[in-house]
Structures are given as C-alpha cells and as structure tokens.
Amino acid sequence: MALHHIGLKEINGSLIVLDDVENAGFDELVEIHLKNNTKRQGRIVQIDGKRVVIQVFEGTNDLSMENTSTHFTGKPLEIPLSTELLGRIFNGAGKPIDGLGEIFAEKYADINGAAINPVSRNYPRNYIRTGISSIDALTTLIRGQKLPIFSDSGLPHNKLAVQIVKQAKIADKEEDNNFCIVFAAMGVKNDIADYFKTKFEESGVLERVSMFINLSNDPIIERILTPRCALTAAEYLAYEKNMHVLVILTDMTSYAEAIREFSSSKGEIPGRKGYPGYLYSDLAQLYERAGVLKNSKGSVTQIPILTMPNGDITNPVPDLTGYITEGQIVLSKELYQQGVYPPVSILPSLSRLMKDGIGEKYTRSDHQAVASQLFACYAKVQDARSLASVIGEEELSATDKSYIEFGKNFESNFLTQSDDEDRTIEQTLDLGWDLLCLLPKEELDRIDSELLDKVYDPSRSQRFKSTI
C-alpha cells in the first residue's frame, strides 16, 4: 500500500518541504496530488533526517499547506522508451503533447543516466557532412562529438541549425537511413518552436525527429529535465537501436538560468555571476552524454546552441561550455551585418576532434593542410585590415594587399552560401585551394612543399580577380 503524506510544511518558490517522512531516497520521484484531481511531479533534492525538500517540476502555483497529498514512488524519474519516440512531440518532462497518446514503452530509463566508462568509449573518428563549407572544411563535425554553436540574439543560429539538420549526412552511405534527430528546446519562444516544427515538416524529416519542448513560459524546473529526457531518448536510440543520433539542444543559456534560479531558491552559495558552483559539473553531465560506444554501432552527436549574454564569450555559460565541449562554432554579428550567411567567425571556432576524422580515409588527403593554411591566412587578413585602417589600403605592401583581397573573397565566396546550398567536401576543399592561390606562393607556409608544388596555380584564382 502506497503511503500518502497529507499537507506540506513549507512552500518556497519551486520547492516544498515535508516533515515526518520515512524511507525516502535521494533524487526519488514524488507525485503531488491536488484536491482538484490534478497531479504534479517532483524530485527529492535534500534530506535532513525526516525533513525532505522536494522540487516541483510544474511549479508550486495553487499549492497550499493543506490541499496536497504527496506520494513517494521509490524510484528516480524515468521516461518510457521505444522507437515510437521518433516523429513525436513531448513536453520538457517527457510527456507527449501532440495528442497522439502515450508511448508504448519497451523499457523505462532513469533520465539522469550514468557516466560512460572511458574504457568503453570508441574515439570518434567518422565525420558528418553538413554541406556547409565553413563547418565541413574548418570545424568538421565528427560523429560522437559535442560541438556547440555560440551565438547571440539576432543571429541566425536557428536557421543554421535547421540547415545542418536538413543537410547532415553520414559519410558511409548504407547507414544513411539510420540517422535521426532528437531536438530539445529549453525556454524558447513559441514562434521559434513553431519555426523548427514547420521547417522539419517542410524538409520531410519530421518522422525522424523526436522533439522535447519547454517553452519560455513553461515552468523553469521542467527546463532542468528537458535535456535529460532528450538525451536519455538519444542514448536509447543510439546504443540500443544502433542509430546515429544528432541532438540539438537550444538554448543552453536558458537552461543555465533555470539552474541558477533553482539554486538560489534552495539558498545555495552563489559562484560566478550568481550561478552555483556546480554549474560545470551539471553541464558536463549533459554534454558528456555524447559519444560512441565500443559495443554499439550507433552514436550520439550533440549540437548545443547557446546565446552569449551581451555577446560575451567569457560569460560563465559559454566559458564552461567551451571547457567541456570538443570545440565550438562561433557566430559573429559583424559578419552577419555584412550579409555573410552563415556568419561563422572562423578564428575562434574550433573542432577538437577534426584532426582524426578527416584526411585520406574520411574526407581527402589534403584537408588538414588546406584547413590549417586557411586559418593561418585568415588570421593574417585581420592584421592587414587593422593596418589598413590606420595607414589606408593604398599604402599597404603588395603582400598585405593580396591578403585583403583574399579576405574579401574568402568571406563572400567561401563562408557565404545560401540556406539550401549543399556543397560536397570536394567542392569545399577545391574552393579553398582556389582562394589560397590568390596569395603569393611563399606565404603558404603550412603546406608541405611537395603538395604545394603540385597544386599551386595562380590561374585558379582568376575568377575572383575579375570580379574586382
């Protein structure tokens, strides 16, 4: 016989306190029944003897000290899993909201997951082609990687995410139909959620997408569960159903703010900018759920999207994220204002796993050389530009002038592409070579002499010169 506790001791923000509770476990799921026959869920976050603190997912509105009866379920929060997850829409706590009824569960799993044993991981090696030159060539996305997009309000990160989802392809063809997407929205606006839904529908991928949506006016505590539910679903699809899962988490900043709100209502000592000291560990528990396992064919690849408050990359959320994820794709307001889409600012962008997932076996043998030369040259473009802003472009040396020309063409031809342009890796790398040929040969110091002699040909860059 399940025990029900009538009434509460204390209500404080999203937390409620019960007294005289016996045999409750840490992190256990509780159900709170209201007098009006509605039910809410919560989670035990602290135990002091018989006093128990519970976090209520749907918020504490309408709760009073007397009108509730609380039931302890004896297990942590679990969600039902089966391949039916695909094509469905859930709320932040994993309940279906598309009116198609409950999921017929093959199994239930604890949403907190468990840490993957580093010994059981396979080092991610194979790449995912996104058809976007700046990403494929310079910050290659690898299967099993976590590669966030650092953005700012007003930048087209959602458009970019949709384009990645639409165009993403696994390199080996036969596994193409094993590809699926888990989409988690935390604290996003209604129309953004709609935008994603419509775009997925238009491009015909909806039946391969599982959406977990917590809108900006939904309870914040549910927001803490959203990525956990989504990742539990992703892990199930990847490691038990051998699928390649791309997880999009947006917006991680709203998630971190939810954590902060929860922490301060619990009365914890705040760390940097009011975020709790455990924000790093908390984010790591989400991001580290990406990967490839030895005993399974599937993979979980994450693209978390976060808006940097005030465009500040040193804010705790992007800062800690960057320390956990394997690189980052940074979007730049300046480029976007110049009409560059996707406005990927390549210098601060990086893919840590790229070096092992490209080259002869995966993309093309000259990929590394082209990428590192493009980076080095584009860095010099910045020097030349700042010099030009002081002494004027006319006064620059011939070499610096060629850098300015390279920079301009790199931005307008390589970075820029339309939102339905799907470039192959060959097209992208050849384009890179064409652009490099704008520069004098001796400036290309990152490329092997042999390779350079073979490929370098100034006439390749002719088409860019004529446009000036």
Partner: protein, 585 residues
C-alpha cells in the same frame, strides 16, 4: 554498532552523533557500500563526502567505519592500467557493470590473479629498513617493479623468505619481525594514504632537464626533472595537446596522466593513441610506461578532488624505486572547482570568487610533492609535476592561475591569438618564463655544448626586439622600416614559424632532439649575422628575400630528418655561396 545516515545533500552526507569516526577516515556509506571520506566532525554531526552518485540513498542506511584513511594500493599492475579517481580499475569495472559506470563497484585496484616473476633480494637474517627493496619483478617491458618495505613499518629483521618464482600480488613472499617483536607478512603490494607525501631521505638540488622534444620548451623555457610547471590557457588554446605531447615524448621513465574533470573522449584518445605509439628512446609501446587516471567531468565530483592525490601518490611510489616520474594533471582548475563545490555544500565561508580560503595551501601542498630526491633506499628519483590550468573566462588574474603561479617555477602561458592563427604549441614567448635556466646551465654547457645558451640568448633577444618593432609596424606598416629592422622582422618570422611552431602530427617534427634544436637555432643565427653584414654593405633587403633562404630555413623542420643532421651542411654551403656572390657584386 555502526552509525546511520541522517541527511543527504548531493555528495555530502551527514550522520548524527557518530563520534567513532576519525578525520579523513575512509568509510562505506549505505547498502551499496559506496566509498566516502570523513571531512568534518563535531559533537553533533559528522560530515562525509562520497565518491559516487547518491541517487536512491536513504536516511537510516548504515555507515561502516574502516579505520584507515583513504589509501591507494601500490604494487605491480599499476603501469599500463587505467583507473578512476579513487584507483578503481576502469577495465574491470567495464566487465562487471558494462559501458556505464554503476554504483558501489568494489573491485580491487590491482589484478589479484595475475602472476609475476618475482626475485627476492633479501636473505634470512638481513636487517631491512623502511623504503628498502626486498623483491623485484618485471612489470612491463620497460619497468622493473621493486617491492619496498612500507615507510609505515619499522626497521626489521627478515625471518623467512619464499623461493623466487611466480607469485600473485597478495601472496606473502617475505616475513619480517620488527624490533618490538611484531611479525609482518610482506606481499607484492602495500597501501599508502593518498593525502600524505611519501617520505624520502633527502631533497637534492635540481640539475637535469626533462627533455621533451618540444623546441619552445627545451630551449626557451626548460623544465627540470623534479620541477613544477603550469600550463594555463583558455579553452581551445591547446592545454591538452601540450600535455599529450609531453606525455608522449618527454624522457621520464614513467608517466602518470591524470584526466581530472576533463572530457571522456580525450581519455579514450590517450588510450588508443598511446598503445600505437612507440617510445623513441626504448622502442617499446608508450603504454608500457604510462598510467592513466580518468575522472571525467561527469563522474562524481568528490572523486575528482581525490584523483590528483591518487596520481601523485602513484608517482611518488615509483620515484621511491629510483625512477624519474612525470605527472600531468589536466586540469588543476577542475580540481580547484571540485574543492569549491564541496566547500559550498558544506556552507563554508567563501574567499575569492567563491573558492575556499584554503585553496592556496592545498595547491602548494600538491606542488611541493614534486622534487628531485634521494630515496629511503639511497637511489635518485624524481617527480615532475606539469599542471594544466583552465582560467575561467581566459582571465589569468583569477585565483587558481594566480595562486598556481606562486608555487610553480615554469609558466607556459598559452595564447589565444596564437591558437586562433593555429600556431601550435601556442606558448607565448613573451609572457612565459622558466626559473630553471640557472639550475640547468651546467647540464646544457656539458651535454649540448657551451654555445647552446649563447645562441638561445640571441634568439630570445631577436624575438623581444621583434615584439617591440611590431608595435610600430601596427601603426605605420613594415615598408617604412629601415632594412636592418626589416631583417629582424623577417628572421623572427623564421624563428616563429620555422622553430617555435611545431607540428605534432608530422613524423619528423613531433619530437626533435636537442642536437637538432641547437643546429636549427645556429643556422638561423648564422644567416642573420651574415645577412646583417650584407645590409651594412648597403645590399638591399629585397635581394635577401629573393634568395628564398628565409623560406628554406622555415622548412628545415620538415626537410631535415632527426637522424640526418649532416644535411645542415648543404644549407651552410648555400648561405655561404649566396653571401659571397653578393659581396663580390
């Protein structure tokens, strides 16, 4: 009667009236017997931090006392292994709980069924002192394991020995009796509390470099065996890459690599990569000298705090055998943050940026465990600590970086601007420093040649001058500079691109011998000095550029293999020919 759990808050557990525990004692918590450590006691409450997830733990579950502090098991089987933060073997855990780490795995640290070919080195009747060796056995192809009398025991007399042969880790091989008449059975392993430094006979002065094969480190900012270094850098600047390069190529006998709160994939990478790589000095697989401690960022935070101590204890144990051990801690900031997290849960008064007030003392305790020592058994051994620091917001003025700076003598500052232009290793040559120059002077003079430090000085001077000139260039452009300054800029570019920048993925460039490093610097300076002469003879700078020698010098790192240094002569010939031709014109 054992105590019971009273309250639970994340990894912090409290028990009421549990006075039987002692400070820093290891305890087992709850039905699953998860490992914890007592961190504070008062008359009402005992606080315990636990090393695993507390999900499902209930008040009223028992807490078991063990009577010993948190310890590491030391014996053969450590090398080539991979452990979590409290020395549990991850490979064995995979067998028992699958790809995801379960709760309450109680697996012995060392493989208890494997046998080793043991040679007993003492005789019945011998007197044996703490730290003295009583048996040896081959552990890997590179490492001979030496079993030493634990420093916790007293000077004793050998009563009984087993014949040489195959023994398991826990088999008794020697029986001794100490002066108080207590009899001890010695096996191949011993236990040591991880938070206590192992004793040594003497601290020796530092005199030998840890040769890493990385040019910017070996020549510009060398680290000594027994020294300490910090590698601070924001994300993406290559801390982990630098640590990996050092773990692969440095000439230590043993590498302990601690992945403290970092990425799971990185540890997998080390595992895969190191088993394929060959040590350039011994020709054996690198894994045969490496131990990994992996406490990734999603593993419990308290174990992350312990992982650093586990790592240094293993390092000291091998040092006591007379090995030179290098420990890479990646990253000490995660460890400091673990301290902060636990301190916050204990509601301690925070100091700077929320870090506890004892952060500096903990850091210094850790770094002071490095050193070049005479061991208890009279051998020489060293522990070198290389700690990565991940400053929050890439700001070097934050507490962890600043406090670390006080306790290390080598500072390799990683630079975002260099990393953005993919100049790796992105160690900034202006802000980095090494205080070991003086200590190592004798070594360099004797082993590499007296001209080495001299040339290095010239290289540093050129780089410093370039950095000043670049300020001007930023304002007015390089074209208006006089030719001699243009030469400084151009030759510095050769130094930066051709010397300081090193390609970790190129077969000839990943590791470079000291001799080749010297030759490279020498030829650059040789050309610079001759080119200066030409310029003083009013030969225009453009002639020098057209010669293509600058480009050639930048490519020496790829074009001259490590084992064919005679090739340098052709470069000298070419320079001489060019200079002569110009002077004759």
């Amino acid at each position: 009667m054992s105590s019971k759990i009273f309250s639970i808050n994340g990894p912090v557990i409290k028990a009421r009236k549990a006075t039987e525990f002692s400070m820093m004692e290891m305890v087992y918590v709850g039905k699953n017997k998860i490992i914890g450590e007592v961190i504070s006691i008062n008359e009402n409450e005992t606080t315990i931090q636990v090393y695993e997830s507390t999900t499902g733990l209930k008040p009223g579950e028992p807490i078991y006392s063990t009577g010993t502090p948190l310890f590491a098991t030391l014996g053969p089987g450590i090398i080539s292994n991979i452990f979590d933060g409290i020395e549990r073997p991850l490979k064995e855990m995979e067998k028992s709980s699958g790809a995801f780490i379960g709760i309450g795995s109680d697996i012995p640290s060392l493989n208890e069924n494997k046998t080793y070919d043991v040679t007993v080195t003492v005789k019945v009747g011998d007197t044996i002192n703490p730290g003295e060796i009583y048996a040896t056995c081959p552990e890997t192809s590179m490492i001979t394991h030496k079993c030493m009398l634990s420093p916790l025991l007293k000077t004793s007399v050998v009563k009984e020995i087993k014949p040489n042969g195959q023994y398991k880790v826990n088999d008794t091989i020697v029986i001794i009796e100490d002066e108080n008449g207590n009899v001890h059975e010695l096996s191949l392993c011993q236990k040591w509390p991880i938070r206590v430094a192992r004793p040594v006979k003497n601290r020796l002065s530092i005199s030998r470099p840890l040769i890493t094969g990385q040019r910017i480190i070996d020549t510009m900012f060398p680290i000594a065996k027994g020294g300490t270094a910090a590698v601070p850098g924001g994300f993406g600047t290559g801390k982990t890459m630098t640590q990996h390069a050092l773990a692969k190529w440095s000439d230590a006998d043993i590498i302990i690599y601690v992945g403290c709160g970092e990425r799971g994939n990185e540890m997998t990478q080390v595992l895969e990569e190191f088993s394929e790589l060959i040590d350039p000095r011994t020709g054996k697989a690198l894994t045969d000298r490496t131990t990994l401690i992996a406490n990734t960022s999603n593993m419990p935070v308290a174990a992350r705090e312990a992982s650093i101590y586990t790592g240094i204890t293993l390092a000291e144990y091998y040092r006591d055998m007379g090995y030179h051990v290098a420990i890479m801690a990646d990253s000490t900031s995660r460890w400091a943050e673990a301290l902060r997290e636990i301190s916050g849960r204990l509601e301690e008064m925070p100091a700077e940026e929320g870090f506890p007030a004892y952060l500096p003392s903990r850091l210094s305790q850790f770094y002071e465990r490095a050193g070049y020592m005479e061991t208890l058994s009279g051998q020489e051994g060293s522990v070198t600590i290389i700690g990565a620091v991940s400053p929050q917001g890439s700001d070097f003025s934050e507490p962890v970086t600043q406090n670390t700076k006080r306790f290390v003598r080598c500072f390799w500052a990683l630079d975002k601007a260099l990393a953005y232009s993919r100049h790796y290793p992105a160690i900034n040559w202006i802000t980095s420093y090494s205080e070991y120059d003086e200590d190592l002077k004798k070594f360099y003079d004797n082993e590499v040649g007296e001209d080495f430090l001299n040339i290095k000085q010239k290289i540093s001077a050129l780089l410093a001058e370039e950095s000043k000139l670049m300020e001007i260039v930023k304002l007015i452009g390089a074209d208006v500079l006089p030719d001699d300054q243009k030469l400084v800029i151009e030759i510095s570019k050769v130094i930066r691109v051709g010397f300081l920048q090193q390609n970790a993925f190129h077969k000839d460039d990943a590791y470079v011998t000291l001799e080749k490093q010297k030759q490279m610097m020498k030829i650059i300076i040789y050309f610079y000095e001759n080119a200066s002469k030409l310029i003083s003879h009013s030969i225009p700078f453009s002639v020098l550029v057209e010669s293509g020698i600058f480009t050639k010098l930048s490519r020496i790192k790829y074009d001259i293999p490590n084992d064919d240094l005679d090739k340098f002569n052709t470069y000298y010939d070419e320079i001489d020919l060019f200079i002569k031709k110009q002077l004759n014109n």
